[in-house]
């Protein structure tokens, strides 16, 4: 585990010590498995909220995470959406980032060499507008051992021509996941959208296609209107809603997912407290993603890990997985 250089009383130094101190117990009590992946604890940084893993290093050792999911990558660079991209709304966050990312070439050249320093499981998030984008990304990144798993982003609601079409249609999900399954032997996590009528149908389709785990869920479609102009705030009209207000919705989606499949589930959406993490696990999640919380409390995993460890101990369980409902 990487140690902070500072010997002062800074939060980051405290984090580092805390992380170090809790490392051993985490290893035993908090470790969890997602198919063939073993995580030191169930906390996963959600895609798009952690850049490529390094952004918060000065305030939090990235090695504290069970896994870090990188920002979604597409084969070609994407500048992202014009105009306003984020807005706080009703205690949550609307975003219309538009999958801004440097594209596969730059990702390979500039990002992959840095991933080895993260000291945690690294999940690359793949996104695209046609199914061959996903297979192309998977095939090219197969050679990098530092990428421990793929997450297929089938659910980004921001891109007009992209994700939503795959994620909303069980037939397309199954076909796409099947194609990527053939292109890689890395663990395949499939991230689904909550913006569908039947969660169970999309989850079963991902399972049928060969997913190793289901990530539930991406952002909820929302919008906002500027009262001064009378027009939508975002150029794409609709935007993805995340943060604390979506928690009950996401918890329901995770519960429905767990009921629909025996695959491990990574639950996320609005998690901001220890209680939220516990509820996700009780709803059937093997691991829990934190997204918007990284913006509001970047060192949250320190306390959450300590709290989870205490919870497992108080329950007299040997491991956090024993507390999950099946």
């Amino acid at each position: 585990m990487r140690r902070m250089s500072s010997s002062t009383d800074s939060q980051s130094a405290q984090n580092a010590r805390y992380a170090q101190d809790t490392q051993d117990v985490q290893d035993s009590r908090l470790s969890c498995t997602l198919g063939s992946l073993t995580l030191k604890n169930p906390l996963i940084a959600a895609s798009g909220t952690y850049a490529f893993g390094e952004a918060y290093r000065s305030v939090l050792d990235p090695g504290i995470w069970g896994a870090i999911t990188l920002k979604s990558v597409t084969p070609e660079p994407r500048p992202g959406n014009p105009g306003q991209r984020i807005r706080e709304c009703h205690g949550g966050l609307l975003n219309s980032i538009g999958l801004a990312n440097p594209g596969l070439d730059e990702f390979e050249k500039d990002i992959i060499p840095l991933l080895g320093d993260l000291d945690t499981v690294v999940i690359a998030s793949l996104a695209g507008s046609v199914s061959s984008d996903y297979t192309k990304l998977a095939a090219r990144l197969n050679q990098y051992a530092v990428i421990n798993a793929y997450e297929l982003n089938l659910s980004c609601p921001n891109v007009r021509e992209g994700g939503l079409a795959f994620g909303a249609d069980p037939t397309k999900i199954e076909a796409l996941v099947g194609q990527v399954r053939h292109a890689t032997s890395k663990p395949l996590l499939v991230k689904l959208t909550p913006n569908v009528t039947s969660i169970a149908d999309t989850v079963r389709a991902a399972e049928a296609g060969g997913a190793d785990a289901i990530v539930m869920c991406n952002t909820f479609l929302g919008m906002d209107i500027d009262l001064n102009t009378g027009r939508p705030v975002f150029e794409n009209t609709y935007a993805g809603f995340s943060g604390p207000p979506v928690f009950p919705l996401a918890l329901r989606c995770v519960h429905q997912t767990a009921a629909a499949t025996k695959l491990p589930v990574i639950g996320m959406g609005g998690v901001s407290t220890l209680e939220d993490v516990q509820k996700m696990i009780l709803a059937g999640a093997s691991a829990v993603g934190l997204g918007t919380l990284n913006f509001t409390r970047p060192d949250a995993p320190v306390e959450l890990c300590a709290g989870l460890d205490q919870w497992v101990a108080n329950k007299g369980a040997a491991n956090i997985q024993d507390l999950r409902s099946n």
Binding site: M4, S5, S6, T8, D9, S10, Q11, S12, G48, T49, Y50, A51, F52, E54, A55, Y56, R57, S58, V59, L60, K71, P79, G80, P82, Q84, R85, I86, R87, E88, G91, G92, L93, N95, I97, A100, L114, G243, P244, T292, N294, F295, T296, R297, P298, D299
Partner: protein
Amino acid sequence: MLCGAQGPKLYRIIPESVDRLNQRFYRMNLILPEQLSIHPGQFVTLKSEKVPVLLPRPFCVHRWDPQSRRISLLIEARGTATAMFCDSDVARHPFQILGPLGHGFKVKPAQHHFLVGGGCGVAPLHFLAAELLRNAQQVSLAAGFRDQEDALAPELITPPGTAINVTCNPVTAVDLFREQLASLSVRDDATVGVSDVADDADPTDTNGVMVYACGPHVMLKSLAAFCRERGLPLQVSLERMMGCGMGACQGCSCGTKTGSVLLCSEGPVLDATVVNWDA
């Protein structure tokens, strides 16, 4: 994007004091637990558990004293969070402070430095002026506020040793600056007090002049047009909604003539010539 362990720090601190300056502005002072390297134009974000908003709010560093480790923020009560941060019940509790963030003003020796601020845009100029004065530079500051009641006393805006003029309209701060510039070039001795020299006097030599500004878009745009015309180098500090403040969310992107930049990490200070003023 590598921040490195040397990057921004996160602390939870109860403010040392919160001083009301007038009906709209207050100054929050916090003592940081350690010495940090902070540059004029950099910012921090603040969040309080006692204030029901989600995202941390960005504020420029208004003053920074490395010896006492006191950081001061000059805050305009504008909306939910900024109205509540000065509440005594809120300010008794710790604030989460993250910083320093972003890239500030590029400070180089010059014959004369002109600082232009509108509204809460005066916030970073105190620190900038102090840094310039410490390096024995000549500094003038023009500040504009919405009205007389909002206007801050000159000594609250900038340290002694700066020639300062204050107006009750952020956009006319640009006119004040033009007057200061004209008086400088007429007197050509680089000691600036402000005279009533005609504001259209054409400076014969603008070499060695640096201009820095922060404030409302209209003010910056008008200033940028003037500086472009006169060939004056201008650095502007821009505002965007911010999510993470650390380059992680891509929320603060700002289109420029040379491609889009993340204002939190590549800004908030940009060279005015690259900004798309009409976007």
